[in-house]
């Protein structure tokens, strides 16, 4: 089998992967990026609203306030050391992007433009803050292209349209690279590296109604599960309040940040009832639940009453054209309304995975092992939406994900350099390291009676019904039953198309295997957490239960086991932010 060797390997060409790759590419080490799509087609390109940092360009701001909001937004489940680290580094990380050429929108004084977003406050819970740095409503696009451009300048080696299959590890647990497949030729490839970073993004495609790109299938999570490593906090999925009804495409929170608001069928500004202070800019979980309740109680708009309206025509043509041009485009295309004239129909849509591969501040993947509950897996890193540091806790604040990508992408890149210095010699790869992975690939050459597309559709519907905004033990368990059935069907699935060249059917089958793992982790973790916190709403356990549940869940595939791990309430330098009731 073909083998390539590098010092460092990055799996994923989104914002997280490219930021880490850049750090390494600037050194003398050889770094490669593997991505299943050409890097600028990664999901980061879709991010609209912006990236948070307390630059105070518009209004007073301090990173401590940002930290407070993030802890509160995450319903105290976030690790406060990681949150402090992220909020402290935010400004320098954003300035760095500006120096790289990111075309931020500008204020009259020439500084980076900032807009208010949900969950942002001054003075630890006071008035609305203005913290989200934006390039119109195309911040993710601008960010991803800028990082890609920097990587070409620094001659990062790209493996575009290569699909990573599995991690390679030796008997001591060291990660030594991955097995991959060229999508264009169907040829398998071994990529050996002394250190590997997973930045494979989210898995929002496990739900029927999703704002996520079709490539968001949780491949990195599948790889980690198959390697016998755990996933953390997988019950926490953010449902974004405003996806275009029936389509799922996102209407950024920036719309509400610029002054847009939600209306039910009576034309009532209902968020005033649910969050008297922050109104439409309350935490995303709060707004999503409010919409779900309005719809459930018959106050939804439209013939079937299955959506609410978001109104922004009062902002005026000029603001919309300058600050929200992409949103206007999307609304006209997918909802058939011009938001400068009429409100856009919206409903909650699956958006972001707060959980993921557990890591520490340096992006090192950690797992319970001989010497403690959080031991780094040598050579293995994870950053971005696939990782769980955890800064987002039980609910992510808007604009914090892009920040997470670049702050921890940079930190992981730096730490990988240290790791390379400390481990100068490649370890030898066990002869059978790739065996299981290749067998998995070959399995799809066999015929079968079940169809992959049908199973995928059923899986997404199942998760939509059984792991949605509101959950109960019975509903979740029923979901798990159905998932068992689906797994049975998957075992009998086969492809009609067994060709080699650009066989996207095979890719979709491999993605489905990963999504199955994600679904199982989600359902099992959600059953175990008998409280409501952040985005995880249990109707049978409506209250937050700090006594029993101020802790992370760790799901492992062996025996569907869920372990607990303490939340780190102690920040690095400042005072701990003590849990209290979360009201907006």
């Amino acid at each position: 089998m073909n083998t390539r060797r590098f010092d460092a390997l990055i799996v994923g060409g989104g914002g997280a992967g490219l930021r880490a790759a850049l750090q390494l590419a600037r050194s003398d080490y050889k770094v490669a990026v593997v991505s299943k799509v050409f890097p600028t087609r990664s999901h980061t390109v879709s991010a609209q609203g912006g990236i948070t940092a307390a630059l105070a360009n518009v209004d007073d701001d301090r990173w401590e306030w940002h930290m407070y909001d993030t802890v509160k937004g995450g319903d105290w489940l976030g690790d406060q050391d990681a949150i402090e680290f992220m909020c402290r580094e935010a400004a320098s990380a954003v300035y760095e992007l500006e120096h790289m050429g990111l075309p931020f929108s500008r204020l009259d004084n020439g500084k980076i433009y900032q807009r208010p977003f949900g969950g942002q406050s001054k003075h630890f819970g006071g008035d609305q803050a203005t913290r989200t740095c934006a390039a119109a409503d195309r911040t993710g696009h601008a960010l991803l292209h800028t990082l890609y451009q920097q990587n070409i300048q620094h001659r990062t080696q790209f493996f575009d349209e290569y699909f990573a299959l599995d991690l390679l590890r030796d008997a001591d647990g060291y990660c030594l690279g991955v097995t991959a497949m060229s999508i264009e030729t169907g040829e398998p490839l071994l990529i050996e590296a002394r250190t590997t970073l997973l930045a494979t993004g989210g898995a929002g495609r496990v739900f029927w109604n999703s704002s996520n790109a079709m490539i968001n299938t949780g491949d990195g999570l599948g790889m980690v599960l198959r390697a016998g490593l755990p996933l953390q906090d997988m019950e926490f999925w953010q449902f974004h309040p405003t996806g275009i009804a029936g389509v799922g495409c996102l209407i950024t929170e920036g719309v509400r940040g610029e002054g847009g608001y939600l209306l039910n069928k009576h034309g009532e500004r209902f968020m005033e009832r649910y969050a008297p202070h922050a109104k439409d800019l309350a935490g995303r979980d709060v707004v999503a639940r409010a919409i779900a309740i309005e719809i459930a109680e018959g106050r939804g708009c439209g013939p079937r009453g299955d959506y609410v309206d978001i109104k922004l025509d009062h902002l005026g043509e000029k603001t919309i054209a300058e600050k929200l041009p992409g949103i206007r485009d999307l609304a006209i295309r997918f909802a058939g309304v011009d938001p400068a004239e009429k409100p856009i129909p919206v409903a909650p849509t699956a958006h972001y995975m707060m959980g993921g591969i557990p890591t520490n501040l340096y992006g090192q993947v950690v797992a319970p092992a001989r010497f403690g509950p959080e031991e780094p897996v040598p050579g293995l890193y994870a950053v971005g939406e696939c990782a769980c540091v955890s800064v987002h806790g039980a609910n992510r604040l808007g604009g914090n994900s892009l920040l997470d990508l670049i702050v921890f992408g940079r930190a992981a890149g730096k730490h990988m350099l240290e790791y390379l210095r400390d481990n100068p010699y490649p370890r030898s790869l066990p002869g059978n390291a790739a065996e299981a992975s290749l067998a998995r690939l070959q399995r799809w050459d066999q015929a079968g009676s079940e169809r992959v597309a049908a199973i995928s559709d059923d899986l997404r519907r199942l998760m939509q019904t059984h792991a949605g905004v509101f959950r109960t033990d019975a509903v979740l368990r029923e979901g798990l039953e159905k998932l068992n059935e689906l797994e049975g069907r998957l075992a009998h699935a086969g492809l009609q198309d067994t060709s080699r060249v650009f066989n996207t059917a095979r890719i979709e089958a491999l993605e489905l295997e990963n999504l199955m793992g994600v679904a199982r982790a989600t359902l099992v973790s959600a059953i175990s957490r008998t409280e409501s916190r952040g985005a995880h709403t249990r109707e049978d356990f409506p209250a937050r239960d700090d006594e029993h549940w101020l802790k992370h869940t760790l799901y492992s595939r062996a025996g569907d086991q869920v372990d607990a791990k303490p939340v780190r309430l102690k920040p690095l330098t400042v005072e701990s932010i003590r849990p209290k009731e979360r009201v907006y």
């Binding site: 050409f38 087609r41 075309p103 920097q150 029936g246 997918f334 996207t504 059917a505």
Partner: protein, 231 residues
Amino acid sequence: MKFRLYRYSPESGEKPHMQDVELDIDPVGKMLLDALLAIKAQDETLSLRRSCREGVCGSDAVNVNGKNRLACITPLGELKEPIEVRPLPGLPVIRDLIVDMEPFYRQYRSIKPWLINDGPEPEVERLQSPEDRALLDGAYECILCACCTTACPSFWWNPDKFVGPAGLLQAYRFIADSRDEATSARLDNVEDPYRLYRCHGIMNCVDACPKGLNPTEAIGRIKSLLVKRRV
């Protein structure tokens, strides 16, 4: 609805051909990508690229009834039947609707698409007035879908030498950036009978761009900067 799809699989030994497909689908509110994926669900051998399904990633550019478009933002109802879908013209076909984009990417890389500013980095952002920032509008939004470049006859004839509309638009994006200091090197980079001057202002590119960008105008601006520099 009736479709005519370009099919080619290098392993089958068959020549490229057009396949007639009937699909039962209600076009209201649906995009061409929805239809292609529905066809793929019936016959999984049909291959195409797709990712964001909202017109921002640039994966699914195809030639529809003779025009280059993104399948995911092309309303089905707008299209005349039979809807003929082919891969982008002017690039080697790998399989079905998938082309080899490398010649396109190579031209993009050739214009050095990164900000060049060797000055000392300030501790905060480099300032840029909203007016200077506005010069980047209409250029930075490019999603590298190649609709424009593969609609340009000049690129068909000289794909290895002509930078093409997308590449030139990005060249302009950096020339226009008040923070970039390499304007004259960038002008040198494109001042060439082939790299720039193969453009004859045919404007196919403008017509093709699904993001409403105007490469011809940017090319015109580059030309006038070159003329200004000369006289």
